[in-house]
């Protein structure tokens, strides 16, 4: 009898497991055939422009709380001025660079309840996750109607679109390849701002002899951030772009050289990098413990707003070594997901996001520059003015760490490869591993 009970219990449990498997398996098999039919049709939804007066609720999903809150509020204020009938629901989920917001967004999209518009890094982070899944609406007609094809740089439009369309409206532009320093300190130490990595190594030896850290570095992602600047500096813009298009192999000697340069650079960085935040690395430069720091231009916002330093006088900047004339950009953008409840209001929102008025209200507060080449520069601070000048004239390439050139799968795996490299400093092995993850994530050939 007791034995019988045991067997019965086991049978019931395994029945549940098996039916669980079977039910879902059946469900997905049916779905599989349906999905195949859908993808073969490749029906890309295109935005429909009409003259309806937008109204109702508009849910805007973003991770702009805290410091960036006021900038978003300013943008929403502009929207309200033009469309007073729309009730804006400002749904923010805190967490730097959207870690939490992205996870919540994925569950909402999978559950079939997309917000009307959501913040996303423009480029492959959007394309590799949502566009290939057929979840975004092509915005090309809107871009043409609003004349954005002309005011946004062509390089930018290429990087945020695919051959099938343009998928989101960039609201702001940040620059990734900026090297920060304190001019007075450099004068004191007798060091000039290096234009190439070879120059950097020469200056770095001098600095190290004085007991100063040549290059301040922080935790994991800032190393990836440094890597993209090094890669652009060593490879040049053409090869850098070829890498992401799959036209240049990751095991090419040129790319191995990037890792070798990286290895040399890391010898001139602080030992405790992995336990610092990016602000602490910037602090090292400000306090005179380190000479240089390569960080995105949110560091300018941190130094001018939080630390109350004057740009150009208290801190200076230059393109990272070997990258002058090039601009590694990253952008936050908004798009229109398939199945959004109120597409008219979303299109209205996107119009404001891309407008000169909207961008010039948002960006001075965010510390970024406008994606448009015709923005009113008098509204921006000294650093942003110089960045905007470069934005209009430089060759524009995309950032890896911030989602422009590679999809989320590659970005995640690249972090692991970088950690492996930091542990064993084996350039060839890192290059091989990158080739493997590039193939797995559909970048390389």
């Amino acid at each position: 009898m007791k034995r019988f009970n045991k067997i019965l219990l086991l049978a019931v449990v395994s029945a549940f497991v098996v039916t669980g498997t079977a039910v879902f398996a059946n469900g997905t098999q049916e779905k599989t055939s349906a999905a195949k039919a859908e993808t073969t049709k490749a029906n890309i939804q295109r935005v429909v422009l009409n003259n309806n007066k937008p109204g109702g609720d508009l849910e805007i999903f973003s991770w702009w709380a805290g410091d960036e809150g006021p900038a978003l509020a300013a943008l929403i204020k502009v929207f309200k001025k033009h469309y007073p009938n729309v009730n804006v629901i400002n749904a923010t989920i805190t967490g730097g660079s959207g870690v939490n917001a992205k996870a919540v967004l994925k569950t909402r999209m999978l559950g079939g309840a997309p917000p009307d518009s959501f913040q996303v890094h423009a480029g492959q982070e959007l394309i590799g996750t949502w566009v290939i899944a057929n979840r975004m609406v092509d915005l090309t007609p809107l871009f043409k109607q609003q004349g954005w094809m002309k005011v946004f740089p062509k390089d930018l439009l290429n990087l945020i679109g695919t051959k099938d369309g343009i998928w989101s409206v960039p609201v702001n532009i940040h620059r990734s390849n900026v090297m920060w320093y304190v001019p007075d300190n450099l004068k004191k130490w007798g060091v000039t701002v290096p234009k190439t990595w070879d120059e950097f190594f020469k200056e770095a030896d001098k600095l190290q002899a004085k007991g100063i850290v040549p290059l301040a570095l922080a935790q994991a992602w800032t190393v990836n951030h440094l890597w993209e600047s090094v890669a652009l500096g060593v490879l040049g813009a053409d090869n850098y772009e070829a890498l992401w298009k799959g036209n240049l192999s990751w095991t090419d000697p040129k790319v191995v050289k990037v890792w070798e340069t990286m290895d040399r650079i890391l010898k001139y960085t602080n030992k405790d990098a992995a336990s610092l935040s990016w602000q602490q690395a910037t602090d090292m430069v400000v306090k005179g413990k380190a000479a240089f720091n390569i960080m995105g231009d949110w560091a300018s916002g941190y130094m001018s707003t939080t630390l109350k330093l004057t740009p150009k006088k208290d801190y200076g900047w230059a393109p990272s070594p070997g990258t002058s004339g090039n601009f590694i950009f990253l952008a936050d953008s908004f798009g229109l997901p398939v199945g959004a409840k109120n597409p008219d209001a979303t299109v209205a929102w996107l119009k404001v996001c891309g407008s000169k008025e909207g961008q010039d209200a948002f960006n001075p507060l965010k510390g970024s520059i406008s994606a448009r080449t015709d923005s009113d520069l008098s509204l921006y601070n000294v650093y942003s003015k110089s960045a905007a000048k470069d934005w209009a004239s430089n060759r524009i390439v995309g950032s890896l760490t911030h989602g422009v050139v590679a999809n989320e799968g590659f970005m995640n795996d690249f972090s692991s490869v970088m950690e492996m490299f930091l542990n064993n400093r084996n350039a060839q092995q890192a290059a091989n591993a990158c080739q493997a993850i590039a193939i797995q994530n559909g970048i390389g050939k």
Binding site: F16, V17, A103, A133, W221, S275, E408
Partner: protein
């Protein structure tokens, strides 16, 4: 008369079944059904492309994901995570058990203000791992906290990089992983074998000798004939960066084992202690030879609880070292990143299933054991 009794009995059975039925169905769907779903997902390629489509395309790929986890060069990180997990478990168990027992013995000797000390030692357990992690991240910062302690005594400041350390010790080649796992088992089998033959329990002795024979056969013969588990050498080992995490975890859970042990020690009848004193045993001998063997069931449940905590260690590492610090990595963090950051749902599910199997290896023998005990007791 007999029929009425059986009728009442039957009604009781129906009632009791009806009462437990809802929870059986709910647990069946939401626990076992979803375990089944995860296992199925792990056998597909969901996430290879367009994983987040409204109707994602999934193909059945068999055990391919598991094969990748244990052989693919990209999944090197997962294998190191497994090694880390073993070390986390070993050190968390030995640390909390020994420290907890030590504290319990100290308190057992009826000290003044015992209630106060008990609360102090137990208090860390009431914190969440995120809080513990944040506190210890500050304490173990390279230029602050613990590293400043030597300065108080006029010594130079400590330079140890606690969490950002990149050193590895006890390095072994992953190709030898099976051998390394089997050696302790073989030694255990040989020990049991000898013990049973001395006790003249031939039947058990034969079972153990067969097991030992196969293990030895693998270690000395098959290992050299079979193809290696990996085509290339891959070093793994004990990462020094995990020491910081282990310290924080031990700090948090030794109070808990103390409470368990203290209850056990208090549960022993006072007559045993008196009898041992009369027989001339010292205090040390009493604890070592009498008290500790008598509270073995408590050690066993503490081991089970702590080992499954170390299998689920996620928030502490996340708060202390961040998700991308590979040296303090844990399969659970890797699983989260693979699933929700890289969108590789099938691979993430495969990691979850591996973790599930390892956890089951701990829990199921314990359940069987306690079930048997309950029946015999």
């Amino acid at each position: 008369m007999a029929t009425t009794i059986s009728r009442i009995h039957r009604r009781d059975i129906i009632k009791s079944v009806l009462i437990v039925l809802p929870s059986i169905i709910l647990i069946g769907i939401f626990v076992y059904g979803f375990i089944g779903n995860t296992i199925y997902t792990s056998l597909t390629d969901w996430g290879e492309s367009a994983g987040l489509a409204l109707h994602p395309v999934k193909h059945f790929v068999g055990l391919n994901n598991y094969k990748k986890l244990f052989t693919d060069i990209i999944q090197n990180r997962f294998r190191q995570d497994l090694v880390n997990m073993v070390f986390y478990s070993i050190f968390l168990l030995t640390g909390t058990l020994s420290l907890g027992l030590f504290l319990a013995v100290l308190l057992d000797r009826s000290v003044k203000y015992e209630g106060f000390f008990r609360t102090v030692f137990l208090y860390p357990m009431s914190l969440s791992f995120i809080v513990t992690g944040t506190i210890w991240r500050w304490l173990l910062a390279p230029s602050g906290g613990v590293n400043l302690i030597p300065e108080i005594f006029g010594l130079p400041r400590g330079k140890f990089l606690w969490i950002s350390n990149r050193q590895t010790i006890l390095i072994f080649n992953w190709q030898n992983v099976l051998t390394i796992l089997l050696v302790p088992f073989t030694l255990l089998m040989i020990y049991l074998l000898i013990k049973n033959f001395i006790k003249a329990d031939i039947k058990k002795g034969i079972i153990y000798s067969i097991a030992a024979f196969f293990f030895l056969l693998y270690i000395f013969v098959l290992r050299n004939i079979l193809p290696p588990v990996l085509p290339y050498k891959e070093p793994h080992g004990f990462k020094l960066a995990t020491i910081g995490i282990i310290i924080a975890a031990v700090w948090q859970y030794s109070g808990y084992t103390m409470a368990l042990y203290l209850a056990g020690l208090r549960g022993l009848p006072a007559s045993i202690r008196e009898a041992s004193k009369i027989d001339g045993a010292t205090e040390f001998q009493y604890y070592l030879k009498i008290a500790i063997p008598n509270i073995r069931p408590i050690t066993l449940s503490a081991v089970i609880i702590l080992s499954h905590i170390s299998l689920k260690l996620f928030d502490l590492i996340y708060a202390m070292a961040g998700a991308d610090n590979i040296n303090t990595g844990h399969p659970s963090i890797n699983m989260y990143l693979t699933t929700f950051r890289a969108n590789q749902f099938a691979m993430g599910a495969a990691m979850a299933v591996v973790l599930f199997i390892i956890a089951a290896l701990f829990i199921i023998p314990y359940m069987v054991h306690s079930h048997k005990e309950r029946k015999s007791g």
